[in-house]
Amino acid sequence: MASGILQSSAADLASLIASGDLSSVEVTQAHLDQIAAVDGDVHAFLAVDTDRALAAAARVDAKRASGETLSPLAGVPIAVKDLFCYEGLPTTAGSHILEGWVPPYNSTVVNRLLANDLVILGKTNLDEFAMGSSTETSYWGPTHNPWDLTRIPGGSGGGSSASLAAFEAPLAVGTDTGGSIRQPASVTGTVGVKPTYGGTSRYGVIAMASSLDQPGPCARSVLDAALLHQVMGGYDPMDSTSIHAPLPDVVGAARSGDVAGMRIGVVKELGGEGYAPGVEQRFGEAVELLTSLGAEVVEVSCPHFVHALATYYLIMPAEVSSNLARYDAMRYGLRVGDDGERSTEEVMNLTRGAGFGEEVKRRIILGTYALSSGYYDAYYGSAQKVRTLISRDFQAAFEQCDVLVSPSTPTTAFRLGERVDDPLAMYKADLCTIPSNLAGNASGSFPCGLAPEDGLPVGFQVMAPPMADDRVYRVGAALERALESRWGGPMLAQAPRLANSLVVSA
């Protein structure tokens, strides 16, 4: 039974639990067993919450037994990126500076998962404070891509995406500041959606860059992602930037998958030089497939997208430099050098020196500089203007098209260590994803095949206007349906089997 459970979709698990064909305890235990079996190699998890998970599962089973109506994903296990505060479990943000910190409160997203009876398995690995595209900046060591353990699982949310690809969890939550949900989804052959900015609550999510961060769903299927989106999203009075409007019907769109008559724009600037041939090939085929399903495809130009990376690397570090100031050893987390002799400032300095990794320090320094008196207008001020221009590019493009599409990331998963000493090469992994964060629109990544040259997953990005998240799911679902019928099953069925995995091939 265990193998069937691990490969099942969240939607199927939920209905089997609701019908009593499976218990949530069985389902949860199967995933805990798989984590025990494979996570030594994958390292997707930073903390596994066995006891609470099983207790929560048992409560769901009891509810079902007593005839209570269950919420749509009740009893389904889920992995949570270690950036979401969850009472009683350490929340580290992948950083030494938060080692041992246990939050005294829950993030809104965690509260909604719990209120909907999802079973939280544990916390997943990420780049330190979500800064990176490979999970290699995590203080706790990198996560490995289940498709090839020598390769990166993407980042920052590599732990969440790898946990899905390794069948350790059927669902996961992530956050996306410049592509941290979509790029990992792309390189692990999973689904990841960055909702419209303000569509999901940031309350209780450790901030990287406040105006860009957005929590979102990670899953192995489009419908599963939509179901999770529905549970975690919507207005939250605790987040001032939360949108006070009903969520678009993402579940309906994921079930429909009808793209006939939709106008799809291929962004000219997101392709060409620097894009791997296999990525461009699979992307092109997917576009053709959508055409064959009745969509109308046009090429559009978003001329300011070429400045997106530079813009992002001014705005994001500026916010980082301020958001990360609070890690000063005074109230929680690491404290270094407090010998009763040293001054407060010296302890702050020593702690921040020892507690932050290289990439975090690089961004704090960049951001501090960009906000400095005399440089503000040239750097932060100009970046905000270009940000507006990028939003206008989107607006103009969305006048012609219902959605825009591109590869999710220019290459397939690169090797661990390959770019870790070359920040610029690392940053380029987010070339395609960053514009949506700058403009705040909805965007998702969906599997579209394996690159012929290396046999690794390629992701297809769908971008929709703010509060039109449903269009992302509609296109993703169309693609998934057509490709899976061509492949004869999900793309992940083509992934190599991990040693010790409890998944049994059908």
Binding site: C85, P103, S322, R331, M348, L371
Partner: protein, 501 residues
């Protein structure tokens, strides 16, 4: 002449002969909203350390602010009372610097987009009116409180350890900043004081702050520089902090003028710095040097959305502004018939509202003034409490005066009544009864009970007055019940009939 710190001071008249002062006041007004600026935590003063905190005001990772709507409304009302423009659109900004009392290591404030700006108020000192221009009113959050333990200075350097209380962290603050005030001459310190008093009276009248300076509800930073006479070149200024009473505003400005005057006259140069005011010694000492401007790296707060007060709302708020303090003073002075000196005495001890309430409770204005500026003021001083916390309410003062007017107690006994009221023994009537304080005789208690019975049953009293003596039975019964049977019924009957004759 030197002060306690060793600064040589110039004689004030000589300063005036040689220099023109330019002053500027930055006043932080702590609002009296029930909850904090960004969270639902209570703002109540004096709670156990760190008992009024939550993830938001502790700045825990992941927490986010949500603006307190009442604080925004209060800011706009303050701005309107100071004749300011109200921004159609403004944002919060982060002011970045590290300090242990700041949970986030940035303060959420406003930078180049304050909620209110370009106002003015007219301040009167000894019959002369000075216009004080208001630069801006902006919203921000207060920091926590540091308590440095050990060491000699009570400051962070040299302390053995420091304790932090974040109860105050996130309490809404409004900063009211004047433009440089010129042309006040020798009256500069008085203008500073009068402006501060005006601001205190205004926020109190608006009901937006407790406005208790000794609790830090109003905190003033006083900027001052001297221009040599005949020039119009601004001198280097100092910013004096810890100026937390009206007296201190005047004292600190005066002190700094004499200190700066002596330095400039002897060819020295004023250091641009903050200075600390020491209220007990009446002098300032150097604080932080400001010669190298700190870079706070302000940028718009991305966790909050812009504030765009609609014009309709602003006009609604304008329409409900209380009477301006100056206008109210004029009205009350006329109504009460006080001399300037008498009114000044009342204002000096912050008793204007108390006298007003006492008069409203039926007391003659002169008597109300006498109680508050005399006996009650003395007792507040002795107990080191604010006058309004002295333990006697305006209504009680009014009923005490009634007892005096009716000849039941004299002034000396009235002070004993006050003792009783402060001791919590009840209303003045109750204290007179229970302590058996009466000028004349044992009849007093009976008379009080008779009066109460008459008041409680005016129908019966009217009948007796009309000659229907039989109706007195009900009243006599009531008196006997009140006296718990200790009274002589014949005596009660006699006194009652006299009262209703």
């Amino acid at each position: 002449m030197t002060d306690n710190w060793g600064d040589v001071l110039m004689d004030y008249d000589e300063v005036m002969d040689r220099f023109d002062p330019v002053i500027g006041l930055e006043v932080h007004v702590e609002l009296n909203t029930a909850s904090k600026m960004w969270c639902a935590c209570s703002t109540e003063f004096g709670a156990p350390p760190n008992s009024q905190t939550c993830p938001v005001c502790l700045g825990l990772p992941g927490s986010l602010p949500v603006v307190n709507g009442l604080a925004v409304e209060s800011a706009i009302r303050i701005g309107l009372a100071l004749n300011c423009q109200v921004a159609e659109w403004c944002r919060f900004a982060r002011k970045n610097y590290f300090y242990p009392d700041m949970p986030k290591d940035y303060q959420v404030s406003q930078y180049d987009e304050p909620i209110c700006f370009d106002g003015h108020v007219d301040i009167e000192v000894e019959g002369e009116v000075f216009r004080v221009e208001i630069e801006r009113v902006h919203m921000e959050e207060d920091a926590g409180k540091l308590l440095h333990v050990g060491g000699s200075t009570g400051r962070i350097h040299g302390a053995d350890y420091s304790l932090l209380d974040y109860n105050r962290a996130g309490v809404p603050l409004m900063e009211v900043v004047t433009k440089p005030i010129r042309g006040t001459g020798a009256k500069a310190p008085q203008v500073g004081r009068a402006y501060m008093q005006f601001l205190r009276d205004t926020v109190r009248a608006l009901g937006v702050s407790h406005a208790r300076m000794e609790q830090g509800n109003l905190r003033c930073d006083a900027n001052i520089s001297l221009m040599p006479k005949g020039t119009d070149e601004l001198g280097t200024r100092t910013e004096t902090k810890n100026v937390n009473s009206l007296k201190s505003v005047e004292g600190a400005l005066r002190f700094e003028m004499s200190r700066q005057g002596e330095i400039l006259a002897s060819g020295g140069r004023i250091k641009q710095e903050t200075r600390m005011w020491h209220e007990t010694g009446g002098y300032t000492t150097p604080g932080r040097s400001k010669e190298q401007a700190e870079d706070y790296r302000y940028f718009p707060e991305p966790d909050l959305v812009p504030i765009a007060p609609s014009r309709e709302w602003v006009e609604e708020l304008r329409a409900t502004l209380p009477e301006p303090p100056a206008q109210r003073l004029k009205r009350l002075q006329t109504a009460w018939g006080f001399s300037d000196r008498e009114l000044g005495d009342v204002r000096a001890i912050g008793a204007l509202d108390l006298v007003d309430a006492t008069v409203a409770a039926g007391c003659a204005p002169a008597a109300a003034r006498k109680w508050w500026t005399g006996e009650l003021s003395r007792r507040a001083n002795e107990a080191s409490v604010e006058l309004e916390d002295v333990g006697v309410s305006p209504i009680q003062v009014a009923s005490l005066q009634q007892l005096v007017d009716r000849g039941i107690v004299n002034d000396k006994l009235a002070r004993q009544v006050i003792d009783g009221v402060i001791a919590g023994e009840g209303t003045p009537d109750e204290v007179v009864a229970s302590r058996r304080l009466a000028v004349v005789s044992d009849d007093t208690a009976l008379l009080l009970a008779i009066d109460a019975a008459i008041e409680a049953d005016p129908g019966a009293a009217a009948k007796v007055r009309d000659g229907k003596v039989a109706a007195a039975g009900a009243l006599i019964g009531a008196v006997m019940r009140q006296m718990k049977g200790t009274a002589d019924a014949a005596k009660v009957r006699q006194l009652l009939l006299e009262r209703l004759a």
